[in-house]
């Protein structure tokens, strides 16, 4: 039997920060959207806002343009700062494609 050993070529990933903790409930929470303004986000995210408001008692869902929109802006530190200071409990990011 011939054995061949070789390197995994995929490199090493370094996890430097944890994902945000999940919420225990949506009731009474404040939810925001971060939109890249593409791929029908202008239709889909408002629909999701309507659904959340209809399904979850006491929820507050911010308008989809509450934070900067577009691929060039949503990854900026300034956007992250605005999200943090807005007091939202969670954000939904869309639409990736």
């Amino acid at each position: 039997m011939v054995k061949l050993e070789f390197h995994d070529p995929s490199g090493v990933l370094e996890v430097t920060q944890p994902h945000a903790p999940r919420l225990t409930t949506l009731e009474g929470k404040r939810i925001g959207f971060v939109s890249n303004e593409q791929w029908q986000a202008y239709r889909m995210l408002p629909l999701l806002k309507e659904s959340l408001e209809a399904d979850v008692p006491g929820i507050t869902v911010l308008p989809i343009d509450a934070f900067p929109q577009g691929n060039a802006l949503i990854g900026e530190e300034e956007t992250a700062r605005q999200v943090k200071t807005s007091g939202v409990d969670a954000v939904i990011v869309g639409n990736a494609a």
């Binding site: 039997m1 011939v2 054995k3 061949l4 050993e5 070789f6 390197h7 995994d8 070529p9 995929s10 490199g11 090493v12 990933l13 370094e14 996890v15 430097t16 920060q17 944890p18 994902h19 999940r22 919420l23 225990t24 409930t25 949506l26 939810i31 791929w39 029908q40 239709r43 889909m44 629909l47 999701l48 659904s51 959340l52 399904d55 979850v56 577009g70 691929n71 060039a72 802006l73 969670a90 939904i92 639409n95 990736a96 494609a97």
Partner: protein, 444 residues
Amino acid sequence: MKNAVAGVGLAPDAAMVTFPVNMFLPGSDIAPLTQRRREVYDGLLKWKSEFAQPAASAKMLAVEGATYEQALVNANNLLLANLWGDGLPLWPATKERVDWILQGATVPRAHVLGKFPPRGGITTVETCAIALAMAGGRPEYLPVLVAAVDACLAAEGFDQLQATSGGPFPAVIVNGPIAKQIRLNSGFGLLGPDPQRPAGASIGRALRLLQQNVGGALPGVGTMAIFGTMRYTNAVFAEDEDNLPPEWQTHATQRHGFARGTNSVSVVFASGVTNVRRRGAKKETPEEDALNGMWRMADFMRAPNLAALAGWESGTPGIMMIAPIVARRMAELGWTQQSIRQFLWENSRIPMDQMRRAGAPAWIEIDTNPVTRDSINLDPWPVCQKPDNIVLVVAGGGHPTHSYWLQAHSPTVPGRIIRTPETFERLLTDADRDLGCGDDVCRA
């Protein structure tokens, strides 16, 4: 999406709800979103990452076979099954092979070049050597690959270039004596295979493997490149410095200020390749031949390549490659690199009514660069802010009939000096021994 979150240091998974692409098209039925809205809610409430932190260095894989050939087949199958191959046969990156490649290194194997976006795989010199080993490379190619990777990692928007549907590919232009020393093609067939000058294929294939395996640019998953042109080997070639007309500068000098004789790479992200039959027919004077050819080149450039908006101010609309014999004839007629660029720039401008009918102004209006947005007031609209943005390279076979236009999606054109190890001369001697001399490729 997994690449994107991994690239910012999160575990490479995320709470996602995915739908078929049809729902993301204009006028689509978005009712499935309502039907599956609970999955979105669950993403906020219940989702949990399943990623386990891996070991700090590349792990070793193993396969067995009754014969060496069967083990080799099994190794290739394993690489493909793990989505680390490109469909062509690979050399498994054994310890022996990687150590051999690393003879071309100038820094320790663990030296970190950066995180390869968008996935964010940590890219060391060893990571490059592993890819080069798989791609059939040799130690003397490693300095070029490392410089090219370094340039790519420094490129503005490289994460988006990796992922975008337009499918740009790195075109690596090499200047300096190293090009001939390692048998990098600058002549006939320089963008394709050449058994006498195989360096470009291996270096470019290794770069592509890094883009896919470390950077996460897996077709249809991590890169939405719809067509994926030139993505087996990218494009790695040399400028034909020996045949530059007198007084003409190398690309590296013009673009990056590197002195002639300096080993360097320059990376343009190209999104297409187009042949231009520039030579005339029937009766023509040398002046007509030159001018007609210039018009044809400009005509090919005069297109609303909206991906090139990303480099409108500081990048490039593309590489115009002209054969050395053409460059020489044009220089004899008084053309300079500057006057050629000026002609191409002026005569590739697009009347705004043509831009409007193509819907191009909308893309200009939403560009993030205010300088680019302001260009909407220009009529005719130039394909880049200034003539110097056009990359003009002298390369190709000794034949006057064609030029080559590589349109770009290149926000910047990063350049890097290539560093070679003290043992480089020995590596070149080994290459002469191993690869033979062909017509003219040995140094002695």
